[in-house]
Assembly symmetry: C2
Homo-oligomer: 358 residues x 2
């Protein structure tokens, strides 16, 4: 059962909820827009379905609705931003703008962020760079659900990486992916449908292979991209580690098993070494390397060559990163955003509580 | 059958061969040291076993033994380097030094390189940053052996990524990995032993799953990290693409299927859009973000926590990236570097030809 809402409905609803918890007008607008970008792009697990989760973090006093964002250290091409426990949905666009401003001056800008919270989808922050003819990079750590290769302990988050690269006539190349074999949202879908997971997605709490999508609730773990050593999981583990270190050790946030959990009911880790969760952003001005036109002409050729590659039997075409999300966005702007009944019920309850109409 | 040589033997032999093909004294020394770093670290496929391959590229006039390396464009934090068709073994350290110099001034330095050749192992270039208390990044594109998800055509190289991160009391974190499920060298080993490859390493020229390690010689392809879509190969494809674009489209080198092949007997692609192969380097000064001591204390804690993680049955410990290579280097500096008979024969022939004693 699904119910369909217009983008504007969900945007205004979310904005009003953020206003009710004490966000400024500007912050509520940007938080809602960032949140809804996930629904538009088809990443339903990271969109409005999480709105009540953010509200619960605020209730638990783990999110500060009126943060004072600041740069606490900087050089011509770097900065560390203190998110003051704000919504990551607000902190991330601020920090990415700092990276873009640095890049305008120094060619590139690199910003590590401490004291933040979950920032929605990584891709939307990286994409801020595109309108400035820059490459954008965004990554974040997250609470530990992933076991490094050979470990039965969860020590890393799904730690996504997004890279947005401008093209000319072609749409931008936008990669945005968790450094695990599969995202947690996909496991939740399998559970709902009562189906098994493929090998290489999860392991038991003893570190044994499993195809049970509910394994995480039993103390099991997600697996790094690759799944097992034979299939390169040490590479996924290294990628997730790099994201963790760039996001948190460069900034002074929490890392590894000490990253604060998203569900407000999960207790905070003991002896936390840093502040909040960490992000990392980068912006590279294209013309700090080559004339924009030369770069874009080459990108167009790259995209066209890959898109027109001969495919294996049964497949239509090679996918250019970012294209499916554009198609989804166009479709949902036109025909609306379908929400599962459980999600729309949750939003209605939230609306009732805060006297905000959905 | 293996024959063991000392590091110094192989280093001086390689240096003398590079001198014989016309490298300057300084270039021959750096090329030999870079090449041998692969043997020391246990990446046998990328070390002295390739020396005659480099010589053949020089004979085919695809390598310029006395290149004039230059910066053709720059900003405070970026540069594009023209490798003048030099050995990548020489071009890469030059370009990485430019990145380090930029980082000294601007906080970070980012260098894209055109008109280069294969640069040995990525990790050794990234590690140049460590002695300056910087994080180092190195990547390169390579000739197309990898099929993007859904493609039966080879459009990407194994496009490795290396990231070296300083720690305090602990050894540095050094990740260095191809963006494929398995490296080509591992397939060659399986062929020699007449063994099958695991699923997810290669596909046939029709794009069908295969476990034949010799599939590449039949027109088949390596697979991106993940292996197939269900196991996240689109993520490996995105990673390899990002390396390709940063290395070649930011610099004006060749990309995708147009990257020059390493074997000198393979004809060059038609209608090449750029110059030579491309690399990308980065250096981030730790204290451009946080005081070095704070960063290193946190890195030490990170490393100790991961190393001491509880392991799954049958596994000894969680591996910290870079540690096995340090152990290998110590072992080989002490006990020598074993070479396969075919490799030592090849080196002896090379020595005879250039009147250089092994």
């Amino acid at each position: 059962m699904e119910q369909v809402f217009t983008y504007e409905q969900l945007l205004h609803f979310s904005e009003n909820i953020f206003l009710k918890i004490g966000c400024s007008k500007a912050d509520a607008a940007i938080a809602a827009k960032t949140l809804l970008s996930a629904d538009l792009r088809g990443v339903d697990s990271h969109g409005v379905a999480r709105l009540s989760g953010y509200v619960r973090l605020w209730e638990a006093k783990r999110v500060n609705a009126s943060p004072k964002l600041s740069i606490i250290h900087q050089t011509p091409s770097t900065a560390v931003v203190d998110g003051d426990s704000g919504l990551g949905l607000v902190v991330a666009p601020y920090a990415m703008q700092v990276a873009i401003d640095k890049a305008s001056q120094a060619g590139t800008g690199w910003v590590s962020v401490q004291n933040s919270n979950h920032f929605g989808i990584a891709g939307i922050h990286a994409m801020m760079a595109l309108q400035h003819d820059m490459i954008g990079i965004a990554m974040t750590n997250a609470s530990a659900l992933v076991a490094p290769t050979f470990s039965k302990e969860r020590l890393l988050g799904t730690n996504p990486i997004a890279v947005a690269i401008p093209a000319g006539k072609e749409p931008a190349f936008v990669a945005d992916f968790a450094t695990t074999t599969a995202a947690n949202g996909k496991l939740e879908m399998l559970q709902r449908k009562n189906e098994q997971a493929p090998n290489g997605w999860v392991q038991t709490k003893e570190g044994l292979p499993s195809t049970q999508p509910g394994e995480l609730k039993q103390g099991g773990a997600l697996l790094p991209l690759g799944g097992d050593k034979e299939h390169g999981s040490h590479k996924g583990y290294m990628l997730g580690s790099i994201v963790d270190i760039f996001s948190a050790i460069l900034s002074g946030a929490n890392y590894g098993p000490w990253v604060p959990p998203f569900p407000a009911y999960v207790p905070m880790p003991l002896n936390m070494p840093g502040k909040g969760i960490g992000h990392f952003f980068g912006a590279l001005r294209i013309d700090a390397f080559r004339p924009g036109k030369d770069f874009k002409d080459n990108m167009d050729q790259w995209i066209q060559r890959f898109r027109s590659a001969e495919t294996s039997a049964g497949f239509d075409k090679v996918v250019i990163p970012g294209e499916p999300e554009i198609a989804m966005q166009n479709e949902r702007l036109k025909n609306g955003i379908p929400l599962l009944q459980a999600v729309s019920n949750d939003l209605k309850q939230l609306g009732d509580r805060f006297s905000v109409a959905l």
